[in-house]
């Protein structure tokens, strides 16, 4: 896939982007917080200074009212000497400096022309230390116009308070920068971890796209969501591999298993034709046989198709809740006379009131297939038992036990596969699809098919076979 913009790989990494996003949000929140703190504290410092300045001005105005301009002048001279923090400037109505610690007023002297007018200002106070260094610091001041038109300016150095606030702000900025750095580093580490986990997944996906269905994602064993996803993908790949393998097998199997009866059918028709042309042979018998062969081919084909459909659907269609006992009893009733006819002892046992969710038709067919098999392989004088019960695990088990020759343990997994027929069964009718269909039905109900030991040797028969069709917990 061509892409127009390629960011450095770390920026295309989702966890890292998330980290950046969170850091940006954090920085914005921290800035807002700082601005608020600054506004509140810096404002408080100014307000306090303004209050002190107002009180000082009131006291000086008192002196002015009692002692006039000269008294005020005297008071100012006195105050500049006693080490107060205030700075003063008294100018006459022409703006000429009369007395005070300031050379020039930070406020325009023309402002507030009427007597009693008051002007506030922030300004920079320049002071020279005894050792000669010049210090500029923030200050607040107020200027008031006196009754005679002169102006009095009183200022207060707030540099100390201000610099304290600035220190706090700097500390918070520093801490913020540290947090952002740590956050970035953490984000890189986390996104690196996630990237590696994703890379493992992606690598497997790429390989699967390339057609290799055998790859699996190694689990880290930490049981996190990546392991969960990996396990899910592995499970999905297992199923995919099985069903694709199954399809391939069906294709091969249909080709193999339909080819021989079709060839047989063709040969028989050809021979019959030759015989009829030569005026001998039983044309009708040949046709009857050919029809039977054709039916056999069709039924094989239908069963293979049914299995393939069940497997590809994943879940059996038309599922409903039903009483497993009723279904089993009906099948038992269908097969009991057949067993009796063949001198096979048929027993049926069912736990009542077992409800199951599933496709009744398919489950009935599965049981019929199991009973067909049992009847086919059990010699007369033997016994077959159909049993329905709830396992201790809650699963519902339909089982068919017979006293036939059984299936050796090493072959039990194999006989469930399509078209697999054991040596001793080749002479009997059937295409080797019965158990495969039962297994497909079980799987389509999230159940399974278990092949077990039969009852063992009984009256020269046996060891028999027990086939259990197990469905998940009854509802």
């Amino acid at each position: 896939m061509p892409r127009q913009i390629r960011l450095p790989s770390v920026f295309r990494n989702t966890p890292f982007r998330l980290t950046l996003l969170f850091l940006a949000l954090f920085a914005a929140a921290a800035s807002a917080f700082l601005a608020y703190i600054y506004g509140v504290t810096a404002g408080e410092v100014s307000r306090r200074a303004d209050g002190e300045i107002s009180r000082e001005i009131q006291s000086l105005l008192g002196t002015y009212r009692q002692a006039g301009m000269d008294g005020l002048n005297l008071a100012l001279i006195e105050r500049t000497g006693d080490g107060r923090a205030f700075v003063y400037l008294l100018s006459d109505k022409t703006g000429k400096r009369m007395t005070g610690t300031l050379a020039v007023s930070p406020v325009d002297l023309d402002q507030g022309p009427k007597a009693g007018d008051q002007v506030s200002a922030s300004f920079k106070l320049t002071q020279t230390d005894p050792d000669g260094t010049v210090i500029k610091s923030a200050a607040r001041g107020q200027q008031i116009r006196l009754a005679n038109g002169a102006t009095l300016f009183v200022g207060l150095d707030i540099g100390a308070g201000e610099s304290f606030v600035l220190k706090i702000v700097r500390a918070i900025w520093g801490a913020g920068a540290l947090v952002i750095l740590l956050g970035l580093a953490g984000g890189l580490v986390v996104s690196g971890n996630v990237s590696r986990a994703m890379a493992r997944l992606n690598q497997v996906v790429t390989e699967v796209q390339g057609g290799n269905l055998r790859v699996r994602i190694p689990l880290r064993g930490v049981r996190d969501e990546f392991d969960e996803l990996a396990a899910g993908m592995n499970d999905m790949l297992d199923r995919l591999e099985r069903s694709i393998g199954g399809l391939r097998h069906v294709g091969d199997a249909i080709a193999h298993d339909l080819r021989s009866p079709l060839t047989r059918l063709r040969t028989r028709l050809e021979l019959a034709l030759i015989d009829v042309e030569n005026g001998k042979g039983d044309a009708e018998a040949a046709l009857v046989q050919a029809l039977e062969d054709a039916d056999g081919v069709l039924s094989t084909f239908n069963t293979v198709l049914a299995i393939a459909r069940l497997q590809s659907a994943g879940e059996a269609p038309d599922q409903s809740l039903f009483d497993a006992g009723d279904l089993t009893a009906k099948i038992a009733e269908l097969y009991a006379p057949l067993c009796e006819d063949r001198d096979i002892d048929f027993q049926f046992e069912a736990t009542p009131y077992l409800r199951v969710k599933g496709n009744q038709e398919f489950i009935a067919q599965a049981l019929a297939n199991l009973l067909d098999n049992a009847v086919k392989y059990t010699p007369s004088g033997g016994a077959i038992m159909l049993r329905l019960r709830r396992r201790a695990s809650g699963e519902v088990e339909f089982s068919v036990t017979d006293t036939g020759p059984g299936v050796p343990p090493q072959d039990r997994e194999r006989v469930v596969q399509r078209f697999v027929r054991l040596e001793n069964s080749r002479s009997l009718p059937g295409a080797g699809l019965g158990l495969s269909l039962v297994a497909a039905v079980a799987q389509a109900h999230e159940g399974r098919l278990d092949l077990d030991e039969g009852p063992g040797e009984i009256n020269g028969q046996g060891p028999g076979l027990r086939v259990a069709f197990v469905l998940p917990r009854a509802v």
Binding site: V288, P337, D372, G430
Partner: protein, 223 residues
């Protein structure tokens, strides 16, 4: 009996017309759903045999249209779609029976015959009589001549179906479908065994057997 065959596969249709004609049925063929609907509306048919997948109008729509117009002629669907839900869809659309392709010809003719005769024996019958065999559907008693016959519930259903279709061939598949309601074919001769039990009960001790085996097809109950 007059049959309308609605089928777009001309070869299959020709084979049906020939085979059913030889069995004594009068067949009319329509090559798609629209033609089929027209022919069916003209009426006079005892059974409609309708393919599900056809050009112009598919079988389901055709039968739905007929049923909406109040036409109750029995319909047998033919289909290559054999899944359970396909069958259910066919019956919901107003079909009376459903046969999956490819089918045996005896199966087709037996089902057509069963559908064609069904109308005659409709209504609320409480007593079915075939020759000297009598079945009381209310008391669930079966009697041949004067002898009472004791039947299991399933045997009773089996005999009821055979009596309702007396004189017609019914296949093993039909019995399994209509009496047991199973739509699969067992690999063993389960139906034959049930029939032979029933036969032992109704024919044993009488000089004339009623329950006949029809070679290559199934069974028939004769009066």
């Amino acid at each position: 009996m007059k049959i309308l065959i609605v089928e777009d596969d001309l070869e299959a249709a020709a084979a049906m017309v020939r085979g059913l004609g030889e069995a004594g049925l009068i067949c009319v063929h329509a090559a798609d759903g629209v033609l089929g609907l027209d022919a069916a509306r003209d009426g006079g048919f005892d059974v409609l045999v309708v393919d599900r997948m056809m050009p112009n109008m598919d079988g389901l729509s055709m039968v739905e249209a007929l049923r909406q117009a109040g036409d109750q002629t029995p319909v047998l669907f033919l289909s290559a779609l054999g899944e359970i839900d396909d069958r259910v869809a066919g019956l919901k659309a107003g079909g009376d029976d459903y046969l999956v392709k490819p089918y045996a010809f005896v199966e087709l003719s037996a089902r057509i015959e069963a559908l064609g005769r069904r109308r005659d024996s409709g209504g609320m019958q409480t007593l079915i009589k075939v020759g000297d065999l009598e079945m009381d559907l209310i008391s669930r008693m079966v009697r041949r001549q004067t002898q009472e016959i004791d039947l299991q519930p399933r045997e009773f259903q089996l005999l009821e179906y055979l009596m309702r279709h007396a004189g017609q061939s019914v296949t093993r598949t039909m019995l399994l479908e209509k009496v047991w309601e199973y739509h699969f074919d067992p690999q063993t001769n389960v139906i034959d065994v049930h029939i032979s039990r029933l036969r032992a009960k109704i024919d044993k001790g009488f000089d004339r057997p009623m329950l006949q085996t029809v070679r290559g097809a199934g069974y028939r109950l004769d009066a």
